[in-house]
């Protein structure tokens, strides 16, 4: 394409602005940067480091549970492992990796040069990063003056009164509280930035009805963050008041309520799932059309379904609490509202299928990950509907069935789409393609390992195995199932190692990508790969949802049909 040359010429411009001076100047450049792309990459890199750490914790737990009566780790260490694994994966892997992609992509996709508040963006990243460091610093400092316990061991939802000073002496729980608090502050800052960017910085012609679906979804996801992450911040402030100032919010001895903490936590905790899964939907919305060679089916329905999910997600939290004894009215309400979520979600699945239907499908790595996502997300949703039925939940609440269900969402849906996003946007970020061959290995090993682990994990749950036990007796009949689950974890580990190898190798040896390797349609592919620091030499103007389609097909632009 003739237009490639001008992009290359533009990419040469900013290099003259480099300051001299080796490693330190590089460090200084990254620490002081307010460029949305660099901050996005730091988010992603930091999340990948924590992904490896929290993955290793999961692996240790699977080794411990592989056979009955195992003494590989002590009960205390096991408690710390599942607490750290859960907290890290949610707050320091899921949130930052999704905010990282959002940071990188949102301004590029709406034709802007940066986020609305670049310095706030930098602050949000560093405060979240500090939260993650603080969580792991507890391994060194958690004993405090009392010498009891190191890392937090209260579980990722930290039910009262276990978190009170009496039952959790020392400082490990304080490290947990403060790190989650800081992560929450960073999340609100970035969410605010994303909404302000999308609402006020769109390029000329990009009406809200032409905004890429990924950007729409990030706006909706940020909206949920305002009303869902803040309650967690509030609850953490209360916990700090209880622990440091002698307050009684969750102190049952003084009339406080442990159930109130459960409500406050899950008012955050359940919408959090949608905060994490919505960006995965956003990736699917961008990737599936490009590899089916069709425009997305039902754009307005997709937007409406996202907003619908956001609203319904705020009214389902107590389905985590069916076993508390809330009474039939509350149980009926939360059963109903939880099932209602399946409606907008189902609309999305049908829209993706309709997009693929009759398309000229290219089975490149991003697409096969997306197809894996579609299947696995469906199954995850179905077990979700099962658990929404409160009598069923009474039997299986806090069992391995629940663990299998939510890992099906978090790994089978969200992680698969995160990998799809890596394969899809890596060429834009680095200028080189990821290896397709290694990508296929990564995909098939992960699919195999994932299903081996999480399909079979449902069974010990149905047989009555509770979550968070550090070991079990041989005569329970859970041993073989757990062994299969643990072996699956090994395949998943290998697949992630292949992925990391692919990331590093392709950075040096990958095929040169060019600005638009997938023949895609959104604005980020109109600039060079990697994009210059100012993104666009001249701000674009758009007149449809697929500006690059219009550019490539001036005889038949989308604007004729929208």
């Amino acid at each position: 394409m003739a237009t490639h040359t001008s992009a290359a010429a533009v990419a040469g411009l900013p290099q003259t602005m480099r300051r001299p001076g080796g490693v330190l100047s590089v460090v200084q450049e990254w620490v002081t940067t307010v460029d949305h792309k660099k901050i996005g990459l730091m988010y992603i890199g930091y999340a990948l480091i924590f992904l490896v750490i929290a993955g290793a914790e999961a692996l240790l737990m699977r080794v411990q549970l592989a056979v009955p009566n195992n003494h590989f780790v002590s009960p205390q260490v096991f408690n710390r492992l599942f607490t750290m694994h859960g907290t890290t994966m949610v707050f320091f892997v899921g949130m930052p990796i999704l905010f990282g992609f959002g940071n990188y992509l949102v301004p590029l996709m709406i034709g802007a040069r940066d986020m609305a508040f670049p310095r706030l963006n930098s602050f949000s990243f560093w405060i979240s990063a500090f939260g993650g460091v603080l969580l792991y610093f507890s391994y060194f400092a958690g004993s405090g003056l009392y010498g009891a316990g190191t890392a937090p061991d209260v579980g990722w939802f930290a039910y009262a009164p276990l978190t009170s000073k009496v039952f959790s002496p020392g400082h490990s729980t304080d490290y947990w509280t403060l790190s989650v608090l800081l992560s929450g502050v960073g999340s609100i800052g970035t969410a605010l930035n994303i909404v302000a960017t999308a609402l006020t910085m769109r390029c000329k012609g990009m009406k809200l009805s032409r905004m890429p679906l990924l950007v729409w979804i990030y706006v909706v996801m940020s909206g949920i963050a305002f009303v869902a992450v803040s309650p967690l911040t509030a609850a953490q402030i209360m916990l700090v008041i209880d622990r440091y100032l002698g307050g009684h919010f969750f102190d049952t001895q003084a009339g406080g309520s442990a159930v109130l903490w459960m409500h406050f936590f899950w008012i955050f905790g359940h919408p959090e799932v949608y905060i994490l899964v919505l960006p995965a939907f956003g990736f699917a919305n961008e990737i599936i059309p490009v590899f089916s060679r069709k425009a997305i089916f039902g754009y307005p329905a997709m937007v409406a379904a996202s907003v619908g999910i956001a609203f319904v997600s705020l009214g389902v939290w107590a389905h985590h609490m069916f076993t508390v004894g809330m009474g039939p009215d509350a149980n009926a309400f939360f059963t109903f509202s939880t099932m209602v979520v399946a409606v907008p979600t189902g609309i999305k699945i049908f829209n993706w299928l309709a997009t693929i239907w009759g398309g000229n499908i290219r089975f490149a790595t991003p697409m096969i990950f997306s197809i894996g996502f579609l299947f696995q997300f469906l199954i995850a949703g179905l077990t979700g509907v099962m658990l929404a039925v409160s009598p069923f939940d009474w039997q299986l609440g806090n069992s391995y069935f629940v663990v299998a269900h939510f890992h099906y969402v978090l790994v089978g849906a969200i992680l698969f789409m995160i990998f799809a996003a890596f394969y899809y946007w890596y060429p834009k970020i680095t200028g080189r393609m990821l290896s397709e061959k290694l990508g296929k290995w990564h995909f098939w090993l992960l699919v195999f390992g994932f299903h081996m682990t999480f399909d079979f994990m449902h069974v010990p749950g149905l047989l009555g195995m509770p979550r968070r036990v550090y070991t079990y007796e041989a005569d329970r009949g859970w041993g073989d199932w757990n062994m299969i689950v643990s072996i699956g974890a090994i395949f998943q580990t290998i697949s992630v190692l292949v992925f990391v190898y692919n990331l590093v190798r392709s950075y040096y040896k990958g095929e040169i990508a060019g600005p638009d390797p997938w023949d895609a349609w959104t604005l980020e592919w109109s600039t060079s790969s990697p994009p210059p620091s100012y993104n666009f030499a001249e701000l674009p103007t758009v007149s449809s949802r697929r500006p690059l389609w219009d550019l490539k097909h001036p005889d038949d632009p989308d604007s004729n049909y929208e």
Partner: protein, 198 residues
């Protein structure tokens, strides 16, 4: 492909989007409101559940004067925005200074109230559930008032140095929206703590 991903389609009409300061502040207010909602819910939930005294009825007095001060500061800050827009800097400074003064009176009377409660009525944050929820909710609001006063105070200092002019109207308006929010929260806190909770 060029960096101009454009199909020549000049619509001609002006491309207008909302102010980013206002959108940012609206988002902040949404998030802050959620925090306050949780504290208000906790306050209401624990009303009358304290196992020991003192109770709200015994120790709380209606803070009518300071409430009037805080609510009128919303009006004065509104006038300040209006005067700044019209480039009447002298009047702007006067309205802004009275806003800071009224907010200061509010904070001072809260301090006085707390002093009475702690030293005369023996109510601290650890005394009972009422103490815990009262100091948390009122304190959370007071800390927002203090943050607002710091920002308004900075604006006042800049204005006295002659560095503020009509170009800064939009920024100051964003700040005034925050201040209106703090006042609105007080209406809720006042109703819950001093009217319903007593």
């Amino acid at each position: 492909m060029s960096t101009v991903a454009a199909v020549a389609n000049p619509t001609g009409d002006e491309w207008k989007q909302p102010s980013r300061g206002m959108v940012g502040m609206a988002c902040l207010i949404a998030a802050e409101s959620a925090i306050f909602v949780i504290f208000v819910v906790a306050y209401i939930y624990y009303t009358g559940k304290s196992l020991s005294g003192p109770t709200p009825r015994e120790v709380l007095n209606l803070p009518i004067f300071s409430t009037i001060c805080l609510l009128s500061s919303s009006i004065t800050v509104h006038f300040a925005v209006h005067e700044l827009q019209g480039s009447r800097i002298g009047r702007f400074i006067a309205w802004l200074a009275s806003t800071v003064l009224l907010g200061g009176i509010f904070i001072a009377s809260t301090a006085l109230e707390w002093y009475e409660l702690i030293y005369h009525d023996g109510l601290t944050i650890r005394t009972n559930l009422f103490g815990t929820t009262f100091y948390s909710l009122v304190g959370l609001h007071a800390s927002h008032v203090i943050a607002g006063l710091i920002m308004l105070g900075l604006a006042l200092i800049f204005a006295l140095q002659g560095k503020v002019n009509a170009h800064h109207t939009e920024r100051f308006e964003v700040l005034s929206v925050y201040w209106h929010f703090v006042d609105a929260v007080w209406v809720v806190v006042f109703t819950v703590v001093y009217v319903l909770g007593r």
